[in-house]
């Protein structure tokens, strides 16, 4: 059972890039299937990019439209940046999945359906009057009907298992079909199954049988005329793993706290799509990471600030509505000047909104969602792997400048995965922590002349007893002070301390010519689609440059100069124009937003089109 299955297949055709979408009911295991394919592709040396699309927070009835769960992945022999605009292959496990996803499949695309599921009940639930497998409505596609349920049962005949559990294996049967079609090795999945079901060998066996059953079926039934192969992509040499954004965030935080030797107090309250950061960190006690599931988001941030006061790196992670609840305490964090990392994994809003969908509309909230002037540095992660580095940068700034830092991620980056070049520990940035210990001339608000940071003086240190709080403080002494001029000085000092960070971050880099007709400025998870769009545009000879901002507050010093050198500035954002507003206000340039607020990332083609239109206007 543990021997490797060699797949026999017709001589495969070489392609350089394939987009596959698995779609089925929430109970159909599409996320596992997608992840397995992803890992296998990555293992085989392809570049990959994924987009899991969960049903919303609720449980939908089996077979219903809102219950459809999807997983799209793009794997290629070259550098790719998105899960692909539209699938080449759609695997639809039931009518609802077909209904929801078919519109994205281009004409003549490959469609694989589980025909066993196209009974009347399921058809009705999916809103079909007639059976699309029969009424000719799929004529434009290369449709392959597979009785997946029946075949899976047959493949598992030898296993003594309840019917329900047998049926649950059909995703692996489907996976087998796809492995056959794309000539993928089964070894990674085999070892995954063995690890994952270590305590339930019968499940290992069943799923393996299904997987191999799928492959065997293809060989026997010859359902495909051709199979395909996607060659290895070229990667910089090194060790790789697949990683999604939330895992990368957690790793980055652990790494940074190790570099700083502070330990972590992470206090959070679960919320989609940020909960996984809490889950991941709760496993890392060996690294001095303590996690505290608080009673709500307010308690969470307050506990994290308390932890920072007591000398640990304070962390809290949440999403939009939870971020809103943290507003008041964030103001206090600004006033008491303690190192804190606040992660906002953005999702669709307003209010509860679309909890499982992505959006980039919390930038304003991060910048200004507090009473009065309460500046906080803000950075954003561009890709799943980039979350790691962004987390480290957040920690670096928080500690060096004694300030809360807001890290913006989003549902797309959080759940999407890509191959990640594992850094060696030696290459990680150093983060120096200097707890104040000397009582001589100690003043809690005396500032470092370079950074304007105040000392980190933690309870337990003899001779440094002092009081902090949210009332305005006298500069240097930190005593409560209501004097107007002192207040203005403090307001400006807090502001300047954040602005100073611009001297400590890299200049913005222009990808493309450093002056010209059109510049794309963007932030966060639009990075991938923009890279893809640039590839297309450049292949077509369209000249366009791109600046991607990791630092949103403050922004790189040279950004203003860059902006002046372009005739047109376009800002793709998953909101109504938040970065656009900032650029316009700050640099008085006529930046134009390319807005999309559909709970989904940009398609590369949408950016391509927008840039082309720019060209035609000018």
């Amino acid at each position: 059972m543990s021997t490797r299955t060699e797949i026999k297949h017709p001589a495969p055709q070489q392609v350089d890039r394939v987009v596959v979408r698995f779609a089925g009911d929430s109970g159909d295991g599409m996320q596992v299937t997608g992840n397995q394919f992803t890992n296998t592709a990555a293992f085989a040396g392809n570049d990959v990019s994924t987009f899991p699309d969960f049903p919303a927070e609720i449980r939908a009835p089996a077979g219903s439209l809102p219950g459809v769960s999807g997983f799209q992945l793009n794997f290629a022999s070259h550098d790719i940046h998105t899960p692909g605009d539209s699938p080449d292959v759609l695997v639809a496990m039931n009518p609802a999945a077909l209904q929801v996803n078919l519109k994205d499949l281009p004409l003549n695309g490959l469609l694989i359906v589980n025909e066993d599921n196209f009974g009347e009940k399921n058809l009705t639930m999916a809103g079909y009057q007639t059976n699309p497998l029969e009424d000719g409505s799929l004529d434009g596609y290369r449709t392959i009907k597979v009785p997946l349920t029946t075949l899976t049962r047959r493949a598992l005949e030898s296993v003594d298992m309840p019917r329900k559990q047998v049926d649950r294996c059909k995703n692996f049967f489907a996976l087998g079909i796809m492995y056959y079609l794309y000539n993928r090795p089964t070894a990674p999945t085999e070892s995954f199954l063995k690890r994952y079901f270590a305590k339930r060998p019968e499940l290992v066996e069943a799923n393996l049988l299904a997987l191999r059953g799928g492959i065997a079926y293809c060989e026997a039934a010859r359902i495909f005329q051709t199979t395909y192969e996607v060659a290895k992509a070229e990667f910089p040499p090194g060790r790789y793993r697949n990683i999604n954004g939330n895992s990368a965030l957690a790793l980055g935080l652990v790494a940074a706290s190790q570099q700083a030797s502070t330990g972590i107090l992470m206090a959070s309250y679960p919320i989609t799509p940020a909960s996984d950061v809490l889950h991941a960190l709760s496993r890392h006690k060996r690294f001095g990471v303590m996690t505290f599931q608080a009673e709500d988001e307010i308690s969470a941030i307050c506990a994290a600030i308390g932890g920072a006061y007591a000398g640990k790196l304070g962390i809290t992670a949440t999403s939009g509505p939870g971020m809103a609840l943290k507003s008041e305490a964030l103001g206090l964090a600004v006033a008491v000047e303690l190192p804190l990392v606040v992660i906002d994994v953005q999702r669709g809003g307003p209010s509860t909104g679309l909890p499982t969908k992505t959006e980039q509309a919390d930038l304003f909230q991060a910048l200004w969602g507090r009473n009065s002037e309460a500046p906080i540095p803000i950075i954003a992660a561009a890709t799943p792997g980039d979350c790691f580095w962004t987390a480290i940068e957040a920690v670096r700034l928080a500690i060096k400048y004694m300030t809360p830092v807001i890290l913006l991620s989003d549902g797309y980056v959080a759940n999407g995965a890509e191959p990640w070049l594992i850094p060696s520990v030696e290459d990680l940035p150093r983060i120096d922590v200097k707890y104040r210990t000397d009582p001589e001339n100690f003043h809690p608000y005396e500032r470092d002349t370079d950074t304007l940071a105040r000392p980190w003086a933690i309870p337990g240190t003899p001779g440094l007893e002092h009081r902090i709080g949210g009332l305005e403080k006298q500069n240097v002494t930190g005593h409560v002070n209501y004097d107007g001029e002192n207040h203005e000085m403090m307001v400006r000092l807090r502001d300047q301390r954040v602005r100073n960070i611009e001297n400590d971050i890299a200049d913005a880099e222009v990808n493309g010519p450093d002056r010209g007709k059109a510049l794309i400025v963007a932030w966060g998870s639009t990075y991938g689609p923009i890279q893809s769009a640039l590839q297309t545009l450049r292949a077509d000879g369209v000249e366009v440059s791109h600046v991607h901002l990791r630092h949103l507050n403050p922004m790189p010093k040279n950004l203003g100069d860059i902006l002046q050198r372009f005739e047109q500035i376009i800002v793709p954002e998953l909101n109504l124009g938040q970065l656009t507003t900032l650029l316009r206000a700050r640099y008085l340039v006529d930046a134009k937003v390319l807005s999309k607020v559909q709970g989904m990332p940009f398609k590369a083609s949408e950016i391509v089109d927008a840039v082309r239109q720019l060209g035609s206007q000018s």
Binding site: R241, L251, R286, A294, E328, S424, H466, G469, G470, V480
Partner: protein
């Protein structure tokens, strides 16, 4: 442990150089003084103390203590304190709060802290009014109270703070009064000695906005008849002549006069603060005037593992069992491939 100096600490060591900004005559003064008197007796180095407060007159307390102090935001002190204690279990953490701060905006954090049994001490200054915002009714104000925000009388039924704490499974629950310095100090010392969340309600007079809120029990002339001091292991006895006591009768508490109807001291209930279940303490917390004297003292003191020690134990145990984490290994976990 780092000891800052060898000389024994005194009250003066705990007084900061900040001018005290409470109204003359405010009950807060005596509580401050009691705390400053108790701390030097506790054998904890000064630098290990952290006073955490929310917002309110009472919450200015930390500024007057020459210890570490954090004047946070309204209602959230228990959450900050929990974070501080988790981050450094070696600290002696005190939460200073008011009836509005702890029970109005901050009620949730309070009850969660109590159920978790974080090892810290809560002093709740209950003056049954919002002092700092100049006199609105609070969740402990009496029904019908006329204040700035209730000119026709409040229609809020008040909380009983001790019942709330006991409902949340608090392990240490006590009540004392600002104007009884000895009892105050004793109770604070008891709270400090308790491992876990110690919840102390302190009746505190706000002579500006709610003067005399507790005079119906503290007035010298009636005091002995209107309050009862709970002492562990002692019969529940009170009265100027110590001739009244509490009986358990018809499944409930009752006041009886010793010598009348054949009641002797031996019939009286004996206070047991250490009962495993909180029901008796809860019953005592329901004693209210005029039917009953008001109990002061320690209602409940039981042991339950503290949140911070359990958390720390889990950290330590994992470290022992699995060894210290290696960053390199963590980064390379799972399916990895080489290019």
């Amino acid at each position: 442990m780092t000891i800052s100096s060898n000389a024994p600490l005194t009250k003066k060591d705990f007084s900061s150089d900040q001018d005290i900004r409470w109204c003359p005559g405010c009950g807060d003064y005596s509580i401050l003084s009691a705390v400053q008197n108790v701390l030097p007796t506790l054998d904890i180095p000064k630098e290990k103390y952290v006073f955490v407060s929310g917002i309110g007159c009472s919450s200015r307390f930390p500024y007057y203590m020459n210890t570490y102090g954090f004047h946070t935001i309204h209602g959230r002190a228990p959450a900050f304190a929990t974070g501080i204690k988790l981050a450094n279990p070696d600290l002696s953490v005190w939460v200073i709060t008011g009836d509005g701060d702890a029970l109005s905006i901050g009620g949730n954090h309070l009850i969660h802290m109590l159920r978790r049994n974080v090892d810290l001490n809560v002093l709740l200054f209950n003056n049954r009014i919002y002092g700092l915002t100049k006199g609105q009714y609070s969740p402990t104000s009496e029904f019908g109270k006329r204040t700035k925000s209730s000119p026709y009388g409040s229609v809020d039924h008040p909380f009983n703070p001790l019942s709330v704490a006991l409902g949340a499974d608090a392990t240490f629950v006590a009540r004392t009064v600002d104007i009884y310095p000895a009892h105050l100090k004793e109770t604070i010392a008891r709270a400090a000695a308790h491992r876990g969340s110690s919840f102390v309600e302190i009746y505190q007079n706000c002579n500006i906005f709610n003067d005399g809120a507790f005079s119906s029990m503290t007035e010298k002339t009636i005091r002995n008849d209107q309050q009862i001091e709970l002492v562990h292991g002692e019969p529940m006895i009170f009265g100027k002549e110590r001739d009244q006591g509490l009986l358990f009768r018809d499944e409930g508490l009752e006041v009886a006069r010793i010598g009348e109807n054949g009641v002797t001291e031996a019939d009286l209930l004996v206070h047991d603060e250490a009962r495993a279940r909180p029901s008796r303490a809860f019953q005592l917390s329901r004693m209210e005037q005029p039917e009953f004297p008001v109990p002061i003292g320690v209602f409940r003191a039981v042991h339950r593992p503290t949140f911070d020690s359990e958390m720390q134990a889990q950290m330590d145990h994992t470290l022992d069992a699995e060894g210290p984490g290696k960053l390199h290994e963590l980064l390379n976990e799972g399916d990895v491939w080489e290019v």
